[in-house]
Symmetry: C2
Subunit: 420 residues, 2 copies
C-alpha cells in the first residue's frame, strides 16, 4: 500500500468517526478527555517502557543531549501530560458559539456559529507530549486528529495513541478520531500534505525546513508556525528602569523559543546613556553581542563585534543578540519591516502617541508595549491550552487555543423566503 493510500484510508476512517464528535456535547468531549487523563496515569509504566525503547535507540544513534532530553518521559512528565488533558477538559466548549446574529429585512434569521474543521493533520518533531497535547485540543474542538510525529519518538507515540484510543472505547466518542500516521516512511508527510478533500487542515510544528517543505508542497490548507526574529525598541521616552529587565527577559529567560528577542533598537537621543547600561546587563547575563557602528563606539570595555547583514536576519535561539541605534519610531519600524518575521515586536515608551505609531506601523502577530516579547504565549495569555503559534495572517495569528481549531458556518433560518 502506498503512503497516499495509507494516509487517505486513515483520513476516511477519521472523518467517519468525526461524526461522533460533531454530534457530541461539550460535556461528552470533556468526559472523553478525562478518560484519556485517567488512562495515561493508569498506564504510566507501559508508557515509560515504550519511551525507554526510543531512548535506547536515540542513545545508540548518538543523538545530542538536548534532543535526548526532549524525547525523555519521566513519571512527572507523564503526570504533566495527564494534567494537560484535564486542564483542556475544563475549558469552555469552543463549538456552537454564536459569533454574529442578525435578522434580515425579509425576516430571515442569520447566525454565524463555530464548528469543527473536521480532520486535522499534525506534523511535529521530537517531544512525545505533543502527541497527547495536540490530540486533546483537537478532540475538545470537535476535530479528528491524524498525528504524524517523528520517527525517533515512534514507540512513545504509538503507546500514547493506543492509550488514548483505548480510553475512548469507554466514551461516546469513537476511538477512530485519533489516528497514528506511521513515521517510518517520509512519504507519509507528503501524503498528508496532499490529502486534499480528505484532510481539512495541516499544522506543521518544527524546523524551518519542515515549514518550507509544507509551504512548497501542500495542496491542503495549512497554518504555518514559524520563526521569530523579534525586536525590542527602546523609545526616547522609555522608562529606562523598565527597559533593562525587559530586554534581558526577552532574550535570556528562554532563548530557544520563537518569542525570544534577537535585536534591540535604541533611540539616538538616549543612546549615549542607555547603550552602555543595556550592553552591560546583557553581557552580565552571558549574551554574545553584535552592534552597528554607533553602538560599537559606545561599547567601552564590553566585548562585541560588528553586526553583519546575516546577524540582523538570524533567529539565534541562543544567548546572542544584536543592538542598533535608530533615529525615530518610524526608523525602528523600517528596520523591523526589513529584518523581522512578523512575530512579536516590542516598544518601551511612556509616550502614548509613539506607542500608537509603533502599533500602526507594525505588521506582526503581537505588539508588546512596555513588556517582554516572551508573553506571546497561549498559557501566558490565558488561553488554557496552545497548539502552536501561528506566524501567518490567514485564520489565526499568534498563539492558537481551542477556538483557533474551529471554523464557522452560517445558519440561515427562514420561513419559506425565496430570493427575488
Amino acid at each position: 500500500m502506498s503512503a497516499t493510500q495509507l494516509v487517505n484510508g486513515l483520513a476516511d476512517t477519521a472523518r467517519a468517526a468525526a461524526r461522533t464528535l460533531s454530534a457530541s456535547t461539550g460535556a461528552e468531549r470533556a468526559s472523553a478527555l478525562n478518560a484519556i487523563a485517567d488512562a495515561v496515569i493508569a498506564r504510566t509504566a507501559e508508557i515509560l517502557a515504550a519511551n525507554e525503547e526510543d531512548m535506547v535507540r536515540a542513545r545508540a544513534a548518538n543523538i545530542n543531549d538536548s534532543l535526548l532530553d526532549r524525547l525523555l518521559l519521566t513519571p512527572a512528565r507523564v503526570e504533566g501530560i495527564a494534567n494537560g488533558a484535564l486542564q483542556v477538559s475544563k475549558l469552555p466548549d469552543p463549538l456552537g458559539i454564536t459569533l454574529r446574529q442578525s435578522t434580515l429585512p425579509n425576516g430571515i434569521d442569520l447566525k454565524q456559529i463555530t464548528v469543527p474543521f473536521g480532520v486535522i493533520g499534525m506534523v511535529y518533531e521530537a517531544r512525545p507530549n505533543v502527541t497527547v497535547d495536540a490530540a486533546v485540543i483537537l478532540l475538545m474542538s470537535g476535530n479528528a486528529a491524524l498525528l504524524r510525529g517523528s520517527s525517533s519518538a515512534s514507540a512513545s507515540n504509538q503507546i500514547l495513541i493506543t492509550v488514548m484510543r483505548d480510553a475512548l472505547k469507554t466514551t461516546k466518542i469513537s476511538p477512530d478520531v485519533i489516528q497514528l500516521v506511521p513515521s517510518d516512511d517520509r512519504d507519509t508527510v507528503k501524503a498528508l500534505l496532499n490529502a486534499r478533500g480528505k484532510v481539512d487542515l495541516v499544522i506543521p510544528r518544527g524546523s524551518a525546513s519542515l515549514i518550507r517543505m509544507v509551504v512548497d508542497e501542500s495542496t491542503v490548507p495549512t497554518i504555518e508556525t514559524g520563526a521569530g526574529v523579534c525586536h525590542v525598541y527602546i523609545d526616547e521616552f522609555a522608562d529606562l528602569a523598565k527597559a533593562v529587565p525587559i530586554i534581558v527577559n526577552s532574550k535570556v529567560q528562554r532563548p530557544s523559543v520563537c518569542n525570544a528577542a534577537e535585536t534591540v533598537l535604541i533611540h539616538k537621543t538616549i543612546a549615549k546613556d542607555f547603550v552602555p547600561v543595556a550592553l552591560k546587563a546583557l553581557h552580565d547575563a552571558g549574551v554574545i553581542l553584535h552592534g552597528d557602528a554607533d553602538v560599537l563606539a559606545l561599547a567601552g570595555s564590553i566585548p562585541m563585534s560588528a553586526a553583519t547583514e546575516e546577524n540582523w536576519c538570524t533567529e539565534y535561539g541562543t544567548l546572542e543578540m544584536n543592538v542598533a541605534i535608530v533615529e525615530s519610531v518610524d526608523a525602528a519600524s523600517e528596520h523591523i519591516a526589513k529584518y523581522g518575521t512578523k512575530h512579536t515586536e516590542a516598544i518601551i515608551t511612556e509616550n502614548k502617541a509613539n506607542a500608537a505609531r509603533f502599533i500602526a506601523l507594525s505588521d506582526c502577530a503581537a505588539v508588546m508595549v512596555n513588556t517582554s516579547t516572551r508573553f506571546t504565549d497561549g498559557e501566558q495569555m490565558g488561553f488554557g491550552a496552545e497548539i502552536g503559534i501561528s506566524n501567518q495572517k490567514l485564520h489565526a495569528r499568534g498563539p492558537m487555543g481551542l477556538e483557533a481549531m474551529t471554523t464557522t458556518t452560517w445558519i440561515v433560518t427562514g420561513d419559506g423566503q425565496i430570493r427575488s
Copy 2:
C-alpha cells in the same frame, strides 16, 4: 524584466504605499473612496471609449454573447460602479476593532484588534467592474491591491485603474496602493502566486481551472472561492407549500451562480405525493431533470433520465437538476458528504430536532433552514459589499465583506512586566 521581477517590484511599491493606509483613519479612507466614485462618473466617456476597444477586440475574436455582455460597460454600469464605491465608503471602518480584551493576573492588558493584511493580490476574469469593486473593498479595509484581470478587459481595467489612481492624488492615500498587474503575460499570475513575503494574500475569482492552478502552485496564502454543488433536502416533516417555491428558486432564479442548487433530496415517506409535484414545478420552469430509480418510477409523464455518478457531482450552471429519494436526515447528509462541495446545503422541515441534526452533520459554508440556497450572498446577508464567497475553512467561510479582508494582531500593554 521577468514577470517575477515586475510583480515583486509592484508589490514592493504597493507595500511602501500601504503605510499611508495603515496610518489612515476610516474617514480618510472613506473620503478616498468618494474621490474614486466622483472620478469614475466624471471620466465616464474615457472609460466607455477604452471599453469599446476591448469590445472591438472581443468581437473580432468571435467571443460568445454571454462573455461579450460580461465585458460590456454602459453609462448605467459605470454609474453602478461608482455607486458601489460610495456604498462601501459608508460601511463601518473594519480596522482597529477590538475583538477580545482582558486583563491578565499580572496586570498586563491584552487586546486582539483587527488590522489590514498589507498587500492583497486579486486574480479575476472578464468583468471590468470587479477592478473597482475589489480595489475599493481592499482600500477601505486598509490593504494595497495588486489587480490582475483578464487580458480581454485590459483597456477597460487600465483606464479604471488610472482613474482611481488619479483620484487618490487628491487624498491622503498614496495612489501606489492600487497597482495594475499586466495581463498580457500569463506568467504574471504565477509570479503573484509565488511572491511570498511580498504579497500577503491572493484571492482568485474565476473558473475551476484557475482555482486548481492557484492551489497547486501558490506559495502565498490564498482564499479559494469555488464551485457549489448545493442540495435542498425535503424532510418528512417539511411544509410542502414552502418546499416547492424554495426548490424552484434555488435552481431557477439565477442558475449560473455558485449558490444555485443542483440536487433535490426527498424523504421517502413523502416521496409518493411530493415527487410528482416537485418534478412538475421544475419541468414547468424549464429544468432538465435526472433522477434515481425510485424517482424515475414516480415521474409519470415528466421527461427525465437516470442520474449518473457524474450528474450527482456536476455544478450545472444551467437549468438542469438531479432528484433522489433518501431514507433519513442522516442519509441525506451522507449523500451531501459524498457529492457536495461544502458550499450551501438546505433543509426544509418543521421539525426542530431534524433541522439541528442536519446542521450538526453538515460541513459547509452555509446551512439554510426553510429558505433558498440563493441567500448565501454578501449583499443578501447585509454585508454591504462582497469580494467573493470563500469555499474553504481557513480564515473566512462563505460571503466575504470588509472584515474578511482584515487579519488581527495582539496588543499587549504592560508596565514593565517580565516573564518568570
